[in-house]
């Protein structure tokens, strides 16, 4: 134990970073995309693009539910907002099917203009990436979450040891020295890590908090005597109603109630819930979106008004800011809601997306630095050993390979036949096949040529997405429809930006076959690693 503290920390940082780094790159990139998961899902269902909220939409929704499930226990109407175009209708059937019933009931989508039920193509949409970023895919959910949780802990260790390792954190705060191989990668890694350090810490620590019942169950087990359900229903209560359906009865028109609620809160009503619809004990619950408060509320606390269904009498007005919240809850609320950014309006969401890009760039530059450093340490006549080649190949798969796979997933969404059986699974299969191919390719060609080929392929695929869109949808970049809903046009624009970034990377890789001022012996041409891959490669 003669090594200095800082050296030990550097060792810890290097190896914890490497061991689960590939997984962390994937978690960061898919997690960044998850800020826009609803927008991604919207883009992936072009059948619902041509739908806009109208004054008569609510009546159309009530009529559709009345036709579909007049005797349901409850109806839920989610009106179109900034993130969706169609009306989401849910209902809880009167008789719960034995063990097959979903807790959230049945669901369908309705066109907000015409009131027709729309059946968009089957896809997992942005939820696939969202789920992937904390429970991966195809392996047991518990083990996957434990693995992601382990990676998150390693990330926290890497953040802390990284700060200690960084010798000149303030002196080098604004420093980037290009064209110097390993040095440049270290600068880029430092810049993306240090400047966005509060975000990195927040996202990692809150990630652990979200996993807290998974990794630290003993406190709950002790206090609730192994009845974990009791803990969840007490702490994360969903307020389920147990009222029996009354006798058939008329309901008042919802329109005036909506006006009343909108005047009360000064915001548009977003969700309408009816319990025991068409009964004399029906209740109509109207919700508007909550203010972007991050700590001052408990879950599910939207400003709400509840009306008696048959008389239209106001029963209850709930303003969540008045709920007392304990300091522990405030901290938990702050971290978890900032992690998920569900409160965010579109502009704030873009900022979070950029934070996520910085996080992805940090992990990516860290992985590339690992290889760059060891490549430059090679003597003139020395070939990289098998381990270094393998790390380089795995880097390729986890960075350019993932970008290829994501692009392929979006292309599959447009190109697979709409009526294909198990279509949503086929899209995911395309994703994993492309990722696997890139892994095999990366391991076979763990050198500059491999990088050039994968970057070229990724740029082409990202460019292909908006292009294919022109031939397969009526909401591509040259239609006014895409610009009506900013999310749709933005998706194509981000694809173009990623393709341009890829093209720039390719140009840099081609232009400079060897790092110009790499110190020490230069690596043999074939074995040279991509030291020019810029950091901004993430969706």
């Amino acid at each position: 134990m003669n090594k200095s503290f800082r050296q030990s920390m550097a060792w810890l940082h290097t190896w914890t970073g490497l061991l689960l780094g590939w997984l962390l790159v994937a978690i960061f990139i898919t997690g960044t995309s998850a800020y826009f998961r609803e927008e991604i899902t919207l883009w992936m269902q072009p059948e619902v693009h041509d739908s806009t909220l109208q004054p008569g939409t609510v009546e159309l929704a009530m009529a559709a539910l009345n036709a579909k499930a007049p005797d349901a226990k409850s109806w839920d109407i989610n009106l179109p907002g900034a993130r969706q175009t169609a009306v989401e209708l849910r209902w809880q059937p009167a008789k719960q099917p034995e063990n097959g019933g979903r807790r959230r009931g049945e669901q369908m989508l309705m066109d907000a203009d015409s009131g027709e039920v729309v059946a968009p193509r089957a896809t997992r949409g942005g939820n696939f990436f969202y789920r992937f970023h904390f429970e991966l895919y195809g392996i047991d959910r518990l083990w996957a979450r434990l693995l992601v949780c382990l990676a998150t802990m390693f990330m926290l260790i890497a953040i802390i040891s990284g700060v200690i390792t960084h010798k000149k954190i303030f002196k080098d705060f604004f420093t980037f020295r290009p064209g110097k191989g390993q040095r440049s990668w270290l600068d880029a890694h430092n810049a993306t890590a240090v400047l966005a350090l509060p975000y990195h810490f927040m996202i990692t620590y809150s990630g652990l908090l979200l996993f807290m019942t998974l990794i630290m169950p003993w406190g709950i087990d002790a206090a609730y005597e192994n009845d974990r359900r009791a803990f969840f229903s007490e702490v994360f209560s969903r307020g389920e109603d147990s009222a029996q359906p009354g006798s058939p009865g008329q309901m008042v028109a919802v329109g005036p109630l909506i006006e009343q609620t909108e005047t009360r809160f000064g915001k548009p009503v977003e969700r309408i819930q009816l319990t025991n619809p068409n009964r004399d004990n029906a209740q109509i619950t109207l919700r508007v979106n909550r203010d972007p408060a991050v700590t001052d509320r408990q879950r599910g606390g939207d400003p709400t008004q509840v009306f008696q269904g048959n008389t239209g009498e106001l029963i209850d007005t709930r303003i969540p800011a008045n709920d007392p919240v304990s300091p522990g809850w405030r901290i938990y609320n702050f971290f978890t809601s900032v992690h998920m950014a569900r409160f965010a309006d579109p502009l704030t969401r873009w900022l979070f997306f950029l934070f996520g890009v910085a996080g992805s760039a940090m992990t990516v530059t860290g992985m590339l630095l690992w290889v760059s450093k060891r490549t430059q340490q090679l003597r003139r006549d020395q070939q990289p050993d098998r381990a270094l080649k393998m790390v380089n190949g795995l880097n390729m798969a986890s960075i350019t390979g993932l970008m290829l796979a994501i692009a392929a997933y979006f292309l599959a969404n447009r190109l697979l036949p709409v009526t294909l059986a198990a279509r949503e699974d086929r899209e995911i299969q395309v994703f994993f096949i492309v990722w696997l191919v890139s892994l095999v390719h990366g391991l076979l060609r763990p050198n500059r040529h491999g990088w050039i080929e994968q970057v070229a392929a990724a740029s082409l695929l990202w460019l292909a997405i908006p292009a294919v869109n022109i031939f397969t949808t009526a909401s591509h970049l040259f239609t006014p429809l895409a610009w009506q809903h900013a999310a749709i046009a933005s998706f194509d624009l981000v694809c173009l930006i990623l393709a341009a970034l890829g093209g720039y990377t390719l140009w840099r890789l081609q232009r400079k076959p060897l790092p110009a001022k790499a110190r020490g012996a230069r690596a043999p041409r074939r074995a040279n690693t991509a030291s020019e891959q810029p950091a901004g490669e993430s969706p």
Binding site: L195, L347, L351
Partner: protein, 116 residues
């Protein structure tokens, strides 16, 4: 999009503040100004730098509630700082000019939107 103008201003102020702080450092002062930094002039860059960052925080407080505003303010520092870091070695003079131009542009935008 009523929050776009103040957000732009907060970003611009964060960028200007960071540039000012970097001008208080020898290496970057050389890069941007093309001359050596006199040690007694450090305070002419450091204090305004912190002041601009404080102003940026103050603008975010008008957009978001306290806790979130604090978090977003440090986040904006990252979003403003990364372009600065990568501009300095390539286009140092442009980096300096942007620090003046962006806040002015942001304030003009805000006043135009407010008057309209």
């Amino acid at each position: 999009m009523t929050m776009a103008p103040p957000l732009f201003l907060a970003l611009a102020l964060a960028y200007a503040g960071l540039t000012s702080l970097s001008l208080a450092m020898k290496r970057h002062h050389d890069q941007v100004m093309g001359r050596k930094l006199q040690p007694e002039r450090v305070r002419y860059y450091r204090w305004p730098g912190w002041l601009l960052l404080a102003l940026s925080l103050w603008v975010t407080l008008t957009v978001w509630p306290l806790g979130l505003a604090l978090f977003m303010a440090v986040g904006l520092v990252a979003i403003a700082g990364l372009p600065l870091v990568f501009l300095l070695p390539y286009r140092a003079r442009l980096a300096g000019r942007l620090a003046v131009a962006l806040p002015v542009l942001a304030m003009l935008t805000w006043s135009t939107v407010a008057l309209a």
